[in-house]
């Protein structure tokens, strides 16, 4: 039962990943790709948490924390660049 629920959750997250990947591929503007990049990072955090659960190791969660930091910093760097380069 629990396994089934985890499979279902992973399938839904994978579908979300593919949809956002389409937005990343299609664009059309840089800002659209940036928000898609942000959402991809956040979905990756879910993926990392699921992988940690499946492997049963808490140490993987440290990587997720670095990801959360990265998604914030990356968006701000690119936003400041877009703001300035006009």
């Amino acid at each position: 039962m629990v396994d089934l629920l985890i499979y279902l959750a992973a399938a839904l997250a994978g579908a979300a990943f593919l949809l956002v990947l389409y937005r990343f591929l299609a664009g059309p503007k840089p800002a659209d790709r940036v928000i898609a990049f942000d959402v991809l990072t956040i979905i990756s955090i879910t993926g990392i948490a699921l992988a940690a659960k499946i492997e049963g190791r808490i140490i993987y969660l440290d990587v997720a924390l670095v990801y959360a930091l990265l998604s914030f910093l990356g968006v701000i760097v690119i936003a400041r660049y877009l703001e300035r380069n006009l």
Partner: protein, 118 residues
């Protein structure tokens, strides 16, 4: 899983080389260099992976007594860790020189750099 990762790494290396060979813009060449760098790292890490084994960190999930039978090869990981850090160093150096080149030539197109051609 090993084969998937390895195939992806090889494809990334080829993509990076293709981009670096066909572009004339120096910043784009550096971007494709980092792409090929990532691909190489993926291939190297995938060589160390073994099916059904765990990460080489000893804790409750992997006690020290069973380590030999439970962990994967840690040597490629140490190698790749070094490679990533040095990769950033190389990229930063290339970017600094690219910027200097841009200041001199006012252009990013390397076909305009003709001093060393004959």
């Amino acid at each position: 899983m090993v084969y998937i990762a390895m195939l992806t790494g090889f494809i990334l290396i080829l993509m990076g080389l293709y981009g670096a060979l066909t572009n004339r813009n120096i910043l784009r060449m550096i971007v494709f260099f980092t792409l090929a760098n990532t691909g190489t790292n993926v291939v190297l890490v995938s060589i160390g992976y073994m099916m059904g084994r765990k990460a080489p960190i000893l804790d409750n999930a992997v006690p020290a007594a069973e380590a030999v039978a439970r962990i994967i090869d840690p040597v490629p990981q140490a190698l790749v860790l070094t490679a990533i850090v040095i990769g950033l160093g190389i990229t930063a150096l290339m970017l600094a020189y690219a910027y200097k080149l841009y200041e001199l030539k006012r252009s990013l197109d390397i076909s305009k750099c003709r001093e060393l051609k004959w």
